[in-house]
């Protein structure tokens, strides 16, 4: 029986972040979501289960209010979820996230195959998957766009700079998936109802084997400024003329 673990992060939807006048970030009206590529990770785990049999466990780490993400994740097909939560887990940096995931996955969760998104849509460090594999001492294939299972090994098509490498690794193994690997399903009403009945295992900080200090410190966060003129024209003939005149004056039309 194939045991598959899919990792996901409950993140701020960046479309809702506003920039304040002095470059500070305004999170007051933000929504949250499952990090974009983690939806591909969950989808791939569920597809592998549907094709080869087995079970899927979804895992997330976060502050207690990330609980909202569990139902969303479970409605996408996993059988159960692990929720590792503590108020101090709100702003973890990737080495901590990977260490905590390894702590829990290594001791509590069956795993022949661990699937992560290639990077999270908030910090996008693309480190957690590879770091987790190292922590668990497993082979790691990153940035894959196709995955199949043959006996006790995985076959993964890995994107590299000048093409694709078809690679094989014995299980247990970890992969990080690119968005092109699949199109995540959109959960229906029935999926959402079923999700509420699935088991969620709550793990608190004191159940971890140790604490993990940050290795990367954030010393500042400012909105990127786009100093642009923001002049708008209409669609009338004289507008079009003025628009083209402006471009010629700027020296960009020759």
């Amino acid at each position: 029986m194939l045991s598959i673990a899919a990792c996901f992060k409950w993140v701020v939807d960046e479309e809702y972040i506003r920039a304040g006048s002095s470059g500070e970030l305004d999170f007051r009206s933000v929504n949250y979501k499952i990090s974009d590529y983690d939806r591909n990770a969950i989808e791939e785990a569920v597809r592998i289960k549907e094709k080869y049999g087995g079970s899927v466990t979804a895992i997330t780490i976060g502050a207690p209010d990330a609980r909202k993400g569990l139902k969303d994740a479970l409605s996408r097909g996993p059988d159960k979820a692990y929720f590792v939560n503590d108020e101090s887990f709100k702003n973890l940096e990737p080495s901590q996230t990977a260490a905590i995931l390894a702590d829990v996955t290594g001791s509590k969760i069956e795993h022949d195959l661990v699937i992560c998104g290639e990077g999270s849509s908030d910090l996008y460090t693309q480190q957690v998957g590879p770091r987790l594999a190292e922590r668990l001492g497993m082979p790691c294939i990153s940035f894959i766009q196709k995955l199949t299972i043959e006996g006790r090994q995985i076959i993964a098509e890995r994107k590299v700079e000048n093409g694709v490498e078809v690679t094989a690794a014995p299980m247990p193994a970890l992969v990080t998936v690119l968005p092109e690997i699949n199109t995540p399903r959109i959960p229906g009403v029935k999926d959402t109802l079923m999700a509420s009945k699935k088991e969620v295992v709550n793990i608190t900080k004191d159940e971890l084997s140790q604490t993990y200090e940050p290795t990367l410190l954030t010393t500042g966060m400012t909105a990127t400024s786009m100093e642009r003129s923001c002049v708008k024209f209409g669609r009338e003939p004289q507008d079009i003329t003025m628009f083209v005149e402006a471009l010629i004056k700027e020296g960009v039309i020759k």
């Binding site: 972040i17 700079e161 490498e165 094989a168 024209f233």
Partner: protein, 318 residues
């Protein structure tokens, strides 16, 4: 030995990192070492461009990939205790860096776009983009070595200096990785490289049908430019090659003139056009975020506006 170490996937990237590394090494009063792999050129090329030492990674058997080097690189770092390791942020490089960082239990700044050694605090201050390019995160590393991946073309290549001397060291052959390469598929370029194009007309979701992209092509034609696209056009519709997909997960461009046609202006896309000299947009929705990122915008239906624009450009440039 301490020092600054660099690791690029190819020659160009290594030369760029040598430039970045040389500056840091000089300010810190330390040495610069470069890993050499995947490159049949002599180590002297690296030495003449700033390396004090070249660490040669032996060639790998056919069924092995670069991940076999990870233990060798980590072991060497444990032995020599470098101050900084800079790795080119390619797909391979990002995996190597994250896994070496895990083995060394140190911090890694991914896709670092600026770095500076602060002499007062002795910290390496680094910057990177987060939230799809919406914000800049400033980071420092609390552990040794400081690690960063740096996107190709962030720095100019180091220039050659005659008379420089350096040492070479052959590292031991790695044990075979559990990951075996069964097949390598080379990818042929499918589209023009537009990263250096002077004018780019970008196709967005507002373009309804594949054949309607002719409008964008005609506009780029009269402007002497190329066309690019947003992520949905290449990834979902498959109308254009992913090599033309502009944005955080695609390519970054820096044309003199960018015109978005039916581009809404999601932050991930706008991040890829940040360095354009002039940004213009045509969109029906006057509240589309692209207008906040644009110098000049036309609020209107692209099917109505673009043909008029083509005529007007022809008229005014005659």
């Amino acid at each position: 030995m301490a020092g600054v170490w660099i690791l690029g996937e190819n020659r160009e990237q290594s030369f760029e990192l040598l430039n970045a590394g040389r500056k840091l090494a000089s300010r810190m009063g330390t040495t610069l070492a470069a890993f050499l792999w995947n490159d049949h050129n002599p180590a002297e090329e690296y030495i003449s461009r700033g390396a004090d030492k070249v660490l040669l990674l032996p060639p790998l058997p056919e069924d092995q990939s670069e991940d076999a080097y990870i233990p060798v690189i980590a072991e060497e770092a444990q032995k020599e205790d470098p101050d900084i390791i800079l790795v080119a942020a390619t797909l391979r490089g990002k995996q190597i860096a994250a896994r070496v960082a895990a083995r060394l239990n140190t911090g890694l700044c991914s896709e670092c776009m600026a770095l500076n050694f602060n002499e007062e605090s002795s910290a390496v201050e680094m910057e990177r983009l987060v939230y799809g390019g919406m914000a800049i995160q400033k980071v420092t590393c609390a552990t040794r070595p400081v690690m960063a991946t740096i996107p190709p073309r962030t720095f100019e290549p180091a220039s050659e200096e005659s008379g420089r001397e350096g040492a070479t060291l052959e590292l031991h052959a790695p044990a075979p990785s559990f990951v075996k390469v069964l097949e390598r598929k080379q990818k042929e370029r499918e589209a023009e490289d537009i990263t250096e194009s002077r004018v780019i007309v970008c196709v967005g979701r507002g373009v309804e049908k594949k054949e309607d992209m002719a409008l964008a092509r005609d506009l780029s034609g009269v402007l002497g430019g190329e066309i690019g696209c947003t992520r949905p056009i290449s990834e979902e519709m498959h109308w254009l090659s992913e090599e033309l997909c502009i944005g955080l997960s695609g390519i970054s461009v820096k044309p003199e003139l960018y015109i978005g046609v039916g581009v809404s202006g999601q932050v991930q896309h706008v991040t890829g056009i940040r360095d354009a000299k002039l940004i213009c947009a045509v969109n029906t929705d006057e509240n589309a975020p692209i207008f906040d990122a644009a110098d000049y915008g036309i609020v209107g239906d692209l099917y109505d506006v673009v043909p008029k624009l083509i005529d007007e450009v022809k008229k005014q440039t005659e």
